[in-house]
C-alpha cells in the first residue's frame, strides 16, 4: 500500500462497500472501466458489489444485462480485447456452468493463444460460499476449479482492506482476473453479523499485490493455510487455541493464482506443521495443492503429515444441520490443530 492514512485510520466500512469503492475509484480514473452484469445497476448488485455506482456513473457505465452469461461475459472479452477494462459480474460462482466456455476457453486463453499479442484486461467478479441454507446451486465456492485452469488469476479476499486493494489491482492488471468474494465476508446487513467483515479502509486508492499471501496472525506451533471466510474461522480457532497455550499461524493465501508458495513454505519451515482449511470440495482442489507444495518444498521440516479440512466431497445440502456438518468451522479447526500436534 502506498497511502498514508493517518486521518482515515478510523474509517471502517464493510467488504462489500470496499469493493464497490475500489471499482468506483477506477471508474473515475479511467473512462474505459465499466461494469456489467445482472442487477448491478439500480439494485447495486445482489451482494452490494456495485453499491452506489449506478447513481454516480449511470446506466451507460453500470449496465444491467439479460440473463445471458455466455453473451455478456463474451461481450466483456470483446470489449477488453479492444482495450476497454470491463468489470463483469457473474452473480453466483455456481452459475459458471452456463458460461464456462467463455471464461476458461476464451477469456483465460486468448493471451496465450495469441502468443502474447492480445491482452484481456478484464475482471470477472462473482459471489461464492454457503452457510445460509441457499442449497447446492447457490453455495459453492469452486475456486479450486478455476485455479486448476491456466490463464486467469484467481483472487479471493477475506477482509475489507484487501477487497478494495485487490479490486484496484485486478482492474489495473492486464490479465483476466477472477475475483471471488465470499458472501460471508461482505458484511451484508441481511446475513449473520460478522465483525471481521467490517474494518479499516483508507478512502484513497491503493493496491494490494495479487499473488502475495498475508500472515493474518503470527504463530509458532501450526500453520493454518486458508482463504476467504475460513480465515475468519481460523482466527476464531486461534483465539480458542491460545487459551490452551497453542499458537497457530494463520496464513491468508488471498489469491490461488498466483499461489504464494514461498509464503506457505516459509511458514511451514517455521511451524513444522500444516493444516489446510478450505470451503471448496476437498478432493482435487486447494487442499491437495497446498499440501503438495509443502511436501515438495519443505518435506524435511514436517514433523507430522499435513492435514486438511474441506467440504467432504458432497454437494452442499440445504438443511442447516446438514450444511453445517459439511462446512469448515472453528471447532473443526481446533480439533484439526490438536490432532496435528499429537500426530
Amino acid at each position: 500500500m502506498t497511502v498514508t492514512d493517518t486521518e482515515t485510520a478510523a474509517r471502517r466500512i464493510t467488504t462489500a462497500k470496499a469493493m464497490a469503492e475500489g471499482i468506483g475509484l477506477e471508474m473515475r480514473r479511467d473512462p474505459d472501466v465499466f461494469v456489467m452484469g445482472e442487477d448491478v445497476g439500480a439494485y447495486g448488485g445482489i451482494f452490494g458489489s456495485t453499491t452506489d455506482l449506478f447513481g454516480e456513473f449511470g446506466a451507460d457505465r453500470v449496465i444491467d444485462t439479460p440473463i445471458s452469461e455466455t453473451g455478456f461475459i463474451g461481450a466483456g472479452i470483446g470489449a477488453a480485447v479492444e482495450g476497454m477494462r470491463p468489470v463483469v459480474e457473474l452473480m453466483f460462482v455456481d452459475f459458471y456452468g452456463v458460461c464456462m466456455d467463455q471464461i476458461d476457453n476464451n477469456m483465460a486463453k486468448i493471451h496465450y493463444f495469441s502468443g502474447g499479442n492480445v491482452k484481456v484486461p478484464m475482471v470477472l467478479m462473482t459471489a461464492a460460499g454457503g452457510g445460509y441454507s441457499d442449497a447446492g446451486q447457490h453455495s459453492q465456492t469452486l475456486w479450486g476449479t478455476f485455479a486448476h485452469l491456466p490463464g486467469m488469476k484467481v483472487v479471493v479476499p477475506s477482509n475489507p482492506y484487501d477487497a478494495k486493494g485487490l479490486m484496484i489491482s485486478a482492474i489495473r492488471d492486464d490479465n483476466p482476473v477472477l475475483y471471488i468474494f465470499h458472501k460471508g465476508v461482505l458484511g451484508l446487513g441481511w446475513m449473520t453479523n460478522n465483525p471481521r467483515a467490517t474494518g479499516h479502509v483508507p478512502e484513497d486508492p491503493y493496491t494490494v499485490p495479487i499473488g502475495k499471501a498475508a500472515i493474518a496472525r503470527e504463530g509458532t506451533d501450526v500453520t493454518v493455510a486458508t482463504i476467504s471466510l475460513s480465515v475468519h474461522r481460523a482466527l476464531d480457532a486461534a483465539d480458542e487455541l491460545e487459551k490452551e497455550g497453542i499458537s497457530i499461524e494463520v496464513l491468508d493465501l488471498r489469491s490461488l493464482v498466483p499461489l504464494d508458495r514461498e509464503a506457505i513454505l516459509d511458514s511451514v519451515r517455521k511451524t513444522h506443521r500444516l493444516l489446510v482449511v478450505d470451503e471448496d470440495y476437498q478432493s482435487f482442489g486447494m487442499t491437495g495443492e497446498v499440501i503438495t507444495t509443502a511436501v515438495e518444498g519443505a518435506f524435511d521440516y514436517l514433523d507430522a503429515p499435513p492435514a486438511r479440512i474441506a467440504i467432504p466431497d458432497v454437494p452442499i445440502p440445504y438443511s442447516r444441520v446438514l450444511e453445517q456438518f459439511v462446512l469448515p468451522d472453528a471447532d473443526k479447526i481446533v480439533a484439526g490443530v490438536k490432532s496435528l500436534l499429537t500426530a
Binding site: Y318, S319, L322
Partner: protein, 325 residues
Amino acid sequence: MNQFNRLDSYKEMVRIRQYESRILQEYHADKQPAWDIGAGLIPGEMHLAAGQEPAAVGVCAHLKKGDAITAPHRPHHFALAHGVDMKAMTAEIYGRDSGLCRGKGGHMHLFDPENHFSCSGIIAQGYPVACGQAFAFKRRSTDNVAVAVAGEGAANQGAFHEALNLAALWSLPVIFVIEDNDWAISVPKSHSTATASNADRAAGYGIPGVRVENNDVEAIFEAAGAAVDRARAGEGPSLIEIHTLRLWGHFEGDAQAYRGAELETVDERDPIPRYAKSLVDLGELTEDQIVTIAAAADAEVDAAIQFAVSSPEPKPQDALLHVFA
C-alpha cells in the same frame, strides 16, 4: 381438450395463494431482530409465486398421471397444481428428514419422481431436461407430455434456444411455458430483450407460439389445452408466453425500490380477487364460498406446516449419504 372447471380452478389458485402467504409469514416470523436470511425455521432464499397462480392452474389442469414438469427457482405454484404432496414439500422447505428430498434440496430443488416434478435454481436448466423426459415418453409410446416452465428472463439464456430447437427437430411432446412477470429480479423485460413477445421466437423453430395476456386463467387454459393436445397427438412442441404478475419481491427481503410507480398498481392487478369477482358476477361463486374455500385452504396449509415443524431434522452425518446411488 379438457373441460375447464371454474370453481376448481379458483379453489386451486386460492390453495396456492394461501400456501404462499403462509410461507411468507413463517419465513419472516423468526428472522428478527436483525433480519438474517440464514436464520429461522425456513432459511435461505425464498421465491414466492403469488400473482402467478393462473399460469400454474391453467396449465396443470391439462396434465395427467405420468406427465412431467420442470420448474425454475419459483416453483411452488406449479408443484402444488401438479399434485406434489403439500406436506412432504413443506417439510422439505423446513429442511426436515421427512421432506421430499430429506432436507437436501430445499425450496429450489423439489424432486418428486412420483409426479415427475422437479425444479432447479439455475435459470433455464429445466428446459433441456424436459426434452429428455418427453423423448422417453415418446420412445415408450405413451401420450405423456413434459412441461418446461421458466420466467421471461430465462428466455434469453442459451439453454432456452437449444431446447426449443431440439424439441422442434425431434417433434417432442413438450410445452414450453414462459411466465412473463415483467421482471427478472430488478431488470425489466425491456432491458433484457428487444422483442416484446417471446412467443415471436417460436417461429424461428417452426413451432406454434402464443402469448396470453392479462394473467387470465381461462385464456391460459385455452392456450395450454391446444399445446397439450398437440403434444399428445405427436405433433410436437409449443411455446406459450403468459403475461402474469409478480405480486411480491423477487425473493423475500427484496425491497423492490427499482419497481417505482408500477408497484403501486400491483394490488389492483391481483388475479385472485379479480377472478373471484368475475365468478361472483357470473353467479358461480358466493361470498360465503369465498370464505369457506379460503378456510379449507388454510386448514390444509396449517396441517402441512404442522407436519413439517413436528418432523425431525435430518441427522447431521446423513449429509454424507446420497452422493452416489
